[in-house]
């Protein structure tokens, strides 16, 4: 049995959903140990057990919460030397990326980043990686041991298998040399009623919205549908809306039941983050926009007229 690790990302004392997504695949690839570091790690172990982890290595030192990457890389490197895993899975998220990169460089190992899937092959591992914003898929063979693979969020569906993980204390003292990039404050900008990543309906706006002043039209539709509002990179870079709303390669990955792309042309940078949505509706002035070629329903028209009318119709239907 291959020895598989899942780096179970913690944030604000909570186990991140990406950890459970990774568990769903990891348990098919071998015997899984999860590593949970920082506040809440011990409580997270129970959940990880229910999702198939045989053991969970925990350490609740506050340094893991307060400092970027280095304490976690120290812990994983130390445990790696004892346990020699075959595969380490990370989520392709900002925090996990920081840790994985440092760890790989320290171990002198390559890694496969931005993967959409990973499977076993001849005693080793192969990951599929979307390229050019998802137009192509490359199969990458991990040559090193451990293989280190970072998987995009929402690539797997989390599910419980039942079970209890053995909780193992990861004994470690974090040296001051690793307490350098200190998080001194956390500021929440997004006042999301519904979390973008978890929303059943996502309405995203792009340049075709004309300007930031028109985004409330999308908010109103989202409220009517119980959904959340996203955005393309172009409008985030332009400063219309905060980054927390960005969907795509450099933003969030979503797979809602319905995705409504409004005034978004559909650059691959964007579509890689939303093309797994069950139903895609596009509203765009340009019938030739790439988004139209992947939408289940493409509407050529003026978004600034259609969206408010749609909101009114949805509200009327609910009454």
């Amino acid at each position: 049995m291959a020895k598989v690790w899942v780096y179970a990302e913690m944030s604000g004392g909570r186990l991140q959903s990406t950890a459970l997504e990774l568990m769903a695949r990891a348990r098919e690839l071998g015997e899984v140990d999860a590593i949970a570091l920082g506040a809440g790690a011990r409580a997270a172990a129970a959940t990880l057990g229910k999702h198939g982890a045989k053991a969970v290595h925990v350490n609740e030192d506050t340094a893991f919460d307060d400092f970027i990457a280095e304490p976690a890389a120290d812990a994983l490197a130390a445990l790696h030397d004892q346990q020699q895993p075959d595969l380490i899975l990370f989520a392709f998220t900002p925090d996990s990326r920081d840790v994985a990169g440092r760890l790989a460089a320290r171990l002198g190992k390559g890694l496969i980043s931005n993967a959409g899937d990973v499977h076993a092959k001849d005693g080793s591992f192969v990951a599929t990686v979307p390229y050019f914003g998802g137009a192509k898929v490359a199969s990458m063979h991990a040559d090193g041991k451990p293989a280190i693979v970072l998987v995009r969020p929402k690539s797997f569906e989390a599910s419980e298998t039942g079970g209890t993980a053995e909780v193992k204390d990861l004994a470690l003292t974090i040296g001051d040399g690793s307490k350098r990039a200190k998080i001194v404050e956390r500021v929440a900008e997004a006042s999301e009623k519904v979390k973008l990543e978890d929303a059943k309906v996502v309405i995203s706006g792009g340049r075709g919205m004309g300007g930031p002043d028109n985004f409330p039209l999308l908010e109103a539709l989202a409220t009517a549908l119980g959904g959340a509002v996203g955005a393309s990179r172009a409008v985030v870079d332009a400063g219309w809306v905060p980054y927390s709303m960005q969907v795509g390669q450099t933003g969030k990955s979503v797979r809602p039941g319905v995705y409504i792309a409004v005034g978004i042309s559909g650059a691959m940078q964007h579509t890689v983050g939303m093309k797994a949505s069950k139903v895609i509706i596009a509203i765009n002035k340009d019938a030739e926009a790439p988004i139209m070629k992947m939408a289940d329903l493409g509407v050529v028209g003026d978004a600034l007229k259609i969206v408010p009318a749609l909101t009114a119709a949805v509200q009327a239907k609910k009454m």
């Binding site: 970027i68 990457a69 280095e70 900002p94 990326r97 920081d98 990169g101 440092r102 790989a104 460089a105 002198g108 190992k109 390559g110 890694l111 496969i112 980043s113 390229y131 050019f132 137009a135 192509k136 898929v137 490359a138 199969s139 063979h141 991990a142 350098r180 990039a181 998080i183 001194v184 404050e185 956390r186 500021v187 900008e189 997004a190 999301e192 549908l225 959904g227 905060p242 927390s244 390669q249 450099t250 039941g257 319905v258 139903v279 895609i280 509706i281 019938a287 139209m292 070629k293 939408a295 329903l297 493409g298 509407v299 050529v300 028209g301 259609i306 749609l310 119709a313 949805v314 239907k317």
Partner: protein, 264 residues
Amino acid sequence: MTLSRRRDNGCLVKIVVTVKQVPDPNSATILESDYTIARDREVVLDPGDECGIEEGLQLKEAHGGEVILVSMGPERAKDAIRKGLSMGADRGVLITDVQLAGADALLTARALAAAIKPEQPDLVICGTESYDGSTGMVPPMLAELLGLPQLTIAKKVEVDGSNIKVHRQTADGYQVVEASTPALITVTAGIAEPRYASLKGIMAARSKEIKQLGLADLGVERGEPGETIEGVADAEARKAGAIIQDDGTAVDRILQVLTQAKVV
């Protein structure tokens, strides 16, 4: 040079910005038979790196100092460095070696680290991820190899003496992260609007130094890659559905789809 003496006073900063030449994001990308990205096409300085250069230049303007651009790529990548020099950076270093073709993130980071280390910068600025590869793994690897703390995904940077503070973008807002320099930061495209090179800047860039280094100069060996590409296939494409003109019925059609999907 008085640079190092004045740096002790915290007055001047030495900044390295890593830059990459990438296929023009506005042109179609083509893969070679060995799955490397065809480089004989239109290439540009990575737009994300322009923002990193801009941030470096602004810090230099505020604190004094020097901005050095370090790149890895074929000889023509000098064009990307030259563009940054024409924006106002002081000099460039290009790592170029036939053995580096198809280099993975770790080899790239090792080569960059070997070139950057002798510069002893106060600050290394990288883009969060390149426009073409988009894996974002080189910066944390580079930080590790240089022994620097990493302050990533910065959308705002403040340097105060030997203290650096960034606003690190997160899923729901940002974190304020502090460290002592030297440090490595990665910056977002939103951090600074890159300036256009002036004619004077373009003229001045012609005489600025671009030092060229090979792997042997750096004492780096290629080694075995950590991963190999087995094959590349077209991604499963979604099929286009109906495309309709809004003749007044669009709202009803959308409502039908929403009803079928059981969201209304």
